[in-house]
Homo-oligomer: 256 residues x 2
């Protein structure tokens, strides 16, 4: 559900310089947390919206609320724990690779040197032209290892030390996102249809607001942000319509 | 939910060489599709498992089946469409950046040249040492642009031309993954508890099989694959237990 995160660019110079700076930085530092927050919120609002809309076809608000709550907790816990484990794995993976790179630089410097030449050869830079850069990199093992991590393995250093913060941010964002489509069914305990229509209206407005807030935060153009919000609205609507149809069809054809 | 995808390494030389080769290639070409498949399946099996377990506390298989089906369709559609839109956005983003880089190389070659010097300076390579590489890159605009895309912007060329294939793979994987925990409730229409226990057993076995198959496909060590499968089992169990508890608590305290 990262569909609408990548900043799109306008062609005005000032804006494009700003967004490029933000772009280059976007995978570093606390950008991670904002990304987790956006992904969690976007998923959290879409799936519970579609699920509750589907269950609303049964005409019982109680079932919608219980199903919605179960999804909200199941989804936010599995997303949050999943993000936490992913961050831990990524960090371990980076550290393993870094340790290996250090070993190789120390134990097989000639082979590592060849790898730099190979890297440059891919861009049409021959051995003779690359020689002075290789010599400069070899002068400082620390820089050399960093160069290999960035350009040979193309691994970014995980910036956040506390993987559990990432998990928490994503889980909580999912939970908050999922509350919006669910709350209207609490408000209309005896009229599922009112709940459904209010849920559609609330979810639609939150998605639009979300798209625009995101635009302010990451420097996307307003037009792109609006397009992103509309896209999410379409995804949510299609999912909700299909879930509604399936539940209705199965409910009327099956006597369990 | 990408927690268990990153290959972890053993220290034997043969295996590490193999896994490095796979690692370097893993974000290119059809690796994307395998990744979509793994993420979709992992999410698909966890959330529907937890949701159906939660709803099973109501003691009515019909509700579990309807809730599970609604989640299955809502989740697979929003994940599939989401992945499709993400792939489209990523491709557009890459093409926009590439076009801009071409413009800059043509219109402001001196500034782009400075950017290469800046890039090398970050790794302790001074202007004099970098000069010959800069000259070699400038000799071929095509290579130069590719170098800037890879090293300055660190953007990988989206390899798959058909974004809809990515979306389809992820959506279908989610759907298939979600069928496993759901089917047992179809099998025991009059005994939710039997359904729940069978669902737990089936989901546990599928997660273990999934972990090992993944290990064979991407070259993870057996130990890491087993650890990954166990982690997913824990995530699913915690989510299921909380969903079960919440549904039970709300159901007994609330008369809608």
């Amino acid at each position: 559900m990262d569909a609408t995160f990548s900043p799109q660019r306008s062609n005005t110079d000032e804006e494009s310089t700003l967004s490029r700076a933000k772009h280059v930085e976007k995978h570093k530092g606390y950008g991670y947390l904002m990304r987790d927050c956006i992904i969690g919120f976007a998923d959290g609002i879409t799936v519970p919206f579609a699920l509750t809309a589907g269950l609303s076809s049964l005409g019982q608000s109680k079932l919608v609320v219980l199903g919605g709550l179960a999804e909200l907790f199941a989804g936010s816990i599995s997303m949050g724990l999943g993000a936490w484990l992913a961050a831990v794995t990524e960090k371990q993976h980076y550290e393993l690779e870094e340790a290996r790179e250090w070993r190789e630089v120390r134990e097989k410097p000639t082979e590592e040197e060849e790898e730099i030449f190979d890297l440059f050869a891919e861009y049409g830079v021959d051995r003779q032209a690359a020689r002075s850069v290789v010599t400069a990199l070899k002068a400082n093992e620390d820089q050399w290892v960093r160069f290999m991590m960035d350009f040979e393995l193309k691994l970014e250093k995980p910036a956040i030390k506390t993987a559990c913060v990432e998990g928490l941010v994503m889980g909580v964002s999912y939970f908050i996102g999922g509350l919006f489509p669910l709350v209207p069914y609490f408000a209309f305990p005896h009229n599922t249809l009112h709940g459904l229509f209010t849920s559609i209206a609330v979810t639609g407005m939150v998605l639009l607001l979300f798209g625009f807030t995101k635009a302010r935060l990451i420097g996307t153009s307003w037009k792109a942000a609006f397009a992103g919000a509309i896209q999410m609205l379409i995804v949510g609507s299609v999912a909700a319509a299909v879930a509604y149809g399936i539940v209705r069809a199965v409910d009327s054809n099956r006597n369990l």
